[in-house]
């Protein structure tokens, strides 16, 4: 075979295929939406949002107290759990036993609980819960129907397109009559 022919028939197509495959494989593996949607790690304590927010109707901000005053909504300190759990006993004996154990161990040793992070933000994104919560956007607009989940899982596509689609047209997520017409779309709104 003419070496030039060989180049066009074999080397070039194979090379192109390699490049395309590399792009696809790398792209697929780093595409957060693909493998992170539905991510539901096992937590150190089997906390159920369904029971707390769903069945008992506790407001999100009762526990996530800082959503309206800080960048982070924050996971509550153990103290917050104890606001209720020190006064009540559950009908389910095993569950109550588990809670007693947690309380005994944690409160005595003062050891904090290391929850698995479900919603992960890259370090170059500076998301601010305040802006969203204070604009009266429902938590569920982004986090999905958390009150139906026994195990917290990621229900939101965390790509920038998702942020921008809402920032360009936030009306569907805002309460009627909201003065907010659009969200900032400058890079420095989130990246700095």
């Amino acid at each position: 075979m003419d070496p030039r022919d060989r180049f066009w028939r074999v080397t070039a197509p194979l090379g192109a295929l390699c490049v395309v495959l590399t792009i696809l494989v790398v792209g697929w593996s780093v595409e957060p939406a693909r493998y992170q949607l539905g991510y539901a790690p096992e937590q150190p304590i089997p906390f159920s949002h369904r029971i707390h927010a769903g069945v008992n109707g506790i407001a999100c901000e009762y526990c996530h107290t800082n959503a309206d005053r800080s960048r982070s909504a924050t996971v509550p300190p153990l103290q917050t759990c104890m606001n209720c759990h020190q006064f009540m006993t559950l009908p389910d004996k095993t569950l109550q036993g588990d809670i007693d154990k947690v309380v005994a161990a944690r409160v005595k040793s003062d050891a904090p609980i290391a929850w698995k992070r479900v919603y992960h933000m890259p370090s170059y994104v500076f998301f601010d819960h305040r802006a969203h919560v204070n604009a009266k956007i429902q938590c569920q607009s982004c986090h999905g129907r958390v009150e139906t989940l026994d195990v917290q899982q990621r229900l939101m596509n965390m790509r920038m397109g998702r942020c921008l689609s809402c920032h360009r047209d936030p009306a569907p997520y805002l309460p009627p009559g909201s003065p907010v017409k659009k969200g900032p779309t400058d890079c420095y709104a989130c990246h700095r």
Partner: protein
């Protein structure tokens, strides 16, 4: 650090020799790494178990505290995130510092998270428990007490009542205790002079804001002197006219080195340091003879007879016209004038300056001593030499060094070290390992001041509190607690807990009888404010003793210019050497010479020619039998016949090693002016040590980038039309959103103090690159202070220009970015998006302001634990290979906007202050919304002194500079 840099260099050269296979394997590895990084599993959220009530994760807390350096107690406001201090500003409640602080105090964040800090007590070089270490020291002290043998305690200046109480308690159980307070770079001359001249050793507070005429003799009042921060604020107030014809202060500087203050002088006379006293006496004579001002009792006109202005001026190489102009201005200003002699000068100069102040009635007006505190005597170099002799004789049973380093900072450091070895027990209370702690038997690590409780007596009517921002990072104790631990072990009942002890003393001594508030309320309020004003009787006004002045005048009259003189002063950055391990300060360029990572010998052009030396040549400086080798810097404005070098370098430590040379050996250990030497010889060694400089070009070359105007020029040129008109553009006219951010920088107020640079570094996680990278011009500073010399190199006019990203409306960096990482926001910011940036550096090449920086290496991965705790969590830590630049502190803008929105109010002017503007002691930097016509920045942008740098390029910067005004004396006759 050096080693790390070399490693990185090696890796940067790797791609040249890289095979295709290696490239592909690296690619595969990096792809795997990328997906691994994106895995959410590695992250946990760890909430508090019991949340402190005032901490909200993600929201900063601010706490007032106090930082002592030498004789100054800076009132500071420390910003903490989730319990860790990350940024230091001045305390607004403090009546003297009024929200401002020095660059060195700001850099103390790095001091706290210094990897070289001592982490546990050591006995005989081996780690020991606190109980064991304390017991060992206490046993030795008990033996000394029993045998009535003397014990030495060497501390820095003690201006803290808490520390004074601890030392007094130790003295009560240890009768042989000899406490020596020592500041290696502070001159004891000023205090001795005050004692002789006024009969009281207290130092006055300079009220620069009240002075219309300043006569400074080798006094770097706006730079390296103690009172610099309030002095800069006071000076700036008189230098920001809003229209032509407004009065301006006038600053006369007679100095040998080109100091920061000298760069701002309206009339600067380069003379040798020993000319100061005769020149000042000559001015006094003019004031008396020509302007009829009375001499103080005890001083006759005859005493001033040797100081005929023309003769003195001729003898010392000064312009006689300046002397008569100064006398005229001083006479006109009366008590609104201030004469200061530099701390290094001999007593005669202080007497002469005191005479001027007394004749003008400035005493009590621009110099206030009514509430000054006497900090007690400080050991002079001569006394330290005596101490070394005593140690060598084995006089002391034990020696305790509390945050002092005499094995480095005395003129015979090796001799001191050897003398030290003769003492049976040597104890070191310190933050880091240093030259002294290496020789000590017991090394007891102390808390950083950000981990400590204390109080300071700033003046008799003002107490300042120091409170801890963080639990001690390591197994350390506060110095007072250690000392009181010994007291307790020796059998005296004392409260060793610093907070409890402080509160008990405040309840006893400070809490006013009959206060309505309970003590707890009173205490909480004091801790919150960080300062407490009290009623205190004013001291009787200081009265100058004419007889003391007369004897000084005799000495000054006999002085003649002789051989070469050498002036030594604490370094502007590392000071007496205590900050040598601080990367922020080492890399901060000297405000005038622009040298970083080392010191140098400042030599005038004429002298350099005589010595046959040029920039970077290593010279041997010899005086009094000792010699030090330093690289030469030919400094415009340096007086011929005098050279200058900064103390504080040549330390041994991880960061400081190899940076500069110690000039402490050149400090005289006899005589009354140890930091001023005569009979110095300078000779080349043939070696070269190129200086690391952040700026290479100091000429303006007729470019209109810095405007230096006289008041006359101001009246003539005020806002010529071409300054306001924008050039035509082919781009679309920008449409701004709700705000358009802008900045105004008043060059007339700016003294180039570099406070903004450290503030920016701290706020924006700006990397330290190290001396080798800095030598290649790879400093990462987002804001810099450029210096330009105009006119005669022997005595140039100096212009400072703060340069940062100009946030141009038509930014040249934006269209050249191939990946749109540099784009414009609708509030007028030129955005740099790190996650998009691929590092082609076109933006950097296309920026006419040199405002962009490039991460040649991954500077952050080489950071030693725990320095990463100093990072501001609101700002990205930039990886290798991206460009970066000033963002106008966009994190502060966004936070300010959000707070206003949450509070349901419009943003107020002044709500948002970038770190540089907040730190600027001169208030020269003003930030705000250009869309609001009434904002301060809008008004300044319309100022008739305003101009845009490189306006002719059509970049439309958002930063307006206000021309600097020099106010030279018009008359030129004697």
């Amino acid at each position: 650090m050096d080693e790390g840099m070399k490693d990185q260099d090696a890796s940067s050269s790797a791609p040249e020799s890289m095979s295709r296979r290696r490239f592909l394997s690296l690619m595969a590895a990096s792809a795997a790494a990328t997906s691994a990084c994106a895995s959410p599993d590695r992250d946990t959220i760890v909430p508090y178990t019991k949340k402190p009530s005032d901490v909200v994760p993600g929201v900063a807390n601010h706490y007032a505290s106090t930082y002592q350096e030498g004789l100054v107690a800076y009132g500071v406001l420390v910003k903490a995130r989730e319990g860790r201090p990350i940024h230091i500003e001045g305390n607004d409640e403090h009546p003297i510092f009024a929200g401002k602080t020095s660059h060195r105090a700001q850099a103390e964040i790095m001091g706290l998270y210094d990897a070289e800090r001592l982490r546990e007590p050591r006995l005989g070089g081996a780690p020991a428990s606190w109980e064991k270490a304390q017991a060992a020291v206490a046993a030795a002290l008990e033996k000394a007490a029993r045998e009535r043998k003397p014990v030495l305690l060497l501390t820095p200046a003690v201006i803290s009542p808490a520390r004074r109480a601890a030392i007094a308690a130790l003295g009560r159980v240890l009768p042989g205790l000899r406490h020596v307070a020592w500041e290696p770079a502070l001159s004891a001359t000023e205090r001795a002079a005050a004692e002789a001249l006024y009969g009281t050793p207290v130092a006055p507070r300079y009220r620069v804001e009240r002075a219309k005429v300043l006569a400074l003799f080798e006094a770097d009042l706006l730079g390296s002197m103690d009172a610099a921060v309030p002095a800069v604020a006071g000076y700036a107030r008189g230098r920001m006219p809003s229209r032509p014809g407004e009065p301006l202060s006038r600053l006369y500087a007679f100095e040998s080195r080109l100091s920061l203050t000298g760069t701002k002088a309206d009339a600067r006379v380069p003379v040798r340091p020993s000319a100061a006293a005769p020149l000042a006496f000559a001015v006094a004579r003019l004031l008396h003879e020509r302007h009829g001002l009375a001499l103080p009792a005890g001083l006759s006109a005859g005493d001033l007879a040797p100081f005929r202005a023309d003769r003195v001026a001729k003898r010392w190489g000064a312009d006689p016209a300046v002397l008569s102009a100064l006398a005229r201005d001083l006479a006109r200003a009366g008590r609104e004038s201030l004469a200061v002699a530099g701390p290094s000068l001999p007593e005669e100069a202080h007497a002469a300056a005191g005479l001027l102040n007394a004749m003008l009635g400035a005493e009590g007006y621009t110099l206030e001593a009514a509430h000054s505190v006497d900090p007690g005597p400080l050991a002079s170099p001569a006394e330290m030499a005596r101490l070394a002799r005593e140690l060598a004789e084995g006089k002391y049973a034990a020696a305790v060094f509390w945050e002092t380093n005499p094995s480095y900072a005395v003129s015979d450091a090796d001799g001191f070290g050897a003398a030290l070895d003769k003492t049976p027990l040597k104890v070191c209370l310190g933050l880091r390992e240093d030259e002294t702690s290496r020789r000590c038997d017991a090394v007891l690590p102390v808390n950083h001041w950000l981990e400590s409780w204390s109080d300071y007596e700033a003046s008799t009517d003002l107490l300042a509190l120091q409170q801890p921002l963080i639990q001690p990072l390591y197994d350390t104790k506060q110095g007072e607690e250690i000392i009181l631990g010994w007291v307790k072990a020796l059998g005296a009942p004392v409260e060793t807990d610093p907070r409890a002890g402080l509160m008990a003393r405040w309840r006893r001594e400070v809490y006013p009888v009959g206060t309505l508030a309970s003590f707890d309320e009173f205490w909480t309020a004091a801790v919150h404010d960080g300062v407490l004003r009290r009623d205190a009787a004013a001291r009787a006004p200081r009265r100058l003793r004419g007889s003391a002045v007369a004897s000084s005048a005799k000495k000054a009259a006999a002085a003649r210019p002789g051989g070469l003189e050498l002036l030594l002063e604490p370094d502007y950055k590392v000071w007496d050497g205590r900050y040598a391990g601080n990367g922020w300060l080492q890399e901060l360029p000297d405000p005038v010479a622009k040298v970083c990572w080392g010191n140098f010998l400042s030599v005038s052009g004429a002298d350099a020619k005589t010595f046959g030396l040029s920039d970077g040549d290593v010279a041997a400086v010899k005086v009094g039998g000792r010699s030090v080798e330093l690289p030469v810097l030919v400094q415009p404005g340096q007086a011929a016949g005098a050279v200058f070098a900064a103390l504080g370098y040549g330390r041994q430590g991880d960061v400081a090693s190899g940076c500069g040379a110690s000039v402490y050996p050149l400090v005289a250990d006899d005589g009354s002016a140890p930091f001023l030497r005569s009979g110095v010889s300078v000779s080349g060694t043939g070696a070269r040590r190129p200086l690391v400089r952040s700026q290479q070009e100091f000429g303006l070359h007729d470019r209109d980038i810095v405007r230096l105007w006289t008041p006359g020029e101001y009246a003539r040129r005020a806002k010529t039309p071409e300054d306001t008109e924008e050039l035509a553009t082919l781009n679309d006219e920008p449409r701004w959103g709700e705000h358009k951010w802008g900045m105004a920088i008043d060059l007339s107020a700016c003294v180039g103090c570099a406070g903004c640079q450290v503030a920016c570094q701290s706020e924006n996680n700006v990397a330290v690159v190290g001396p080798e990278q800095a030598a290649r011009g790879r400093n990462m500073h987002w804001i810099r202070n450029d210096v330009y010399f105009v006119g005669d190199p022997a005595n140039p006019q100096v212009a400072h220009e703060v340069m940062l990203c100009q946030q141009c409306d038509d930014a040249p960096c934006e269209p050249v970015c191939p990946v749109a990482a540099s784009v414009h926001s609708e509030d007028g910011l030129n955005e740099q998006v790190y996650n998009r940036c691929i590092g082609v550096r076109y933006c950097e090449a296309n920026c006419p302001y040199g405002a962009r920086r490039f991460n040649f290496f991954d500077y952050t991965s080489s950071i030693q634990d725990p320095a990463e705790l100093a990072f501001n969590p609101e700002v990205s830590v930039r990886p290798r290979g991206v460009a970066e630049k000033c963002t106008f502190c966009v994190q502060r803008i966004r936070n300010g906007e959000q707070i206003a929105k949450d509070e349901g109010r419009p943003l107020r002017d002044g709500d948002i202050r970038p770190a540089c503007a907040a730190a600027c002691p001169a208030e020269a930097i003003v930030f705000g919304d250009l869309k609001d016509p009434n904002s301060r920045v809008s008004r300044l942008a319309r100022s008739d002194r305003g101009y845009k740098v490189l306006r002719e390029l059509g970049t439309r910067p958002a930063v307006t500079y206000l021309a600097e005004l020099k106010n030279p004396a018009e008359e030129k006759t004697i």
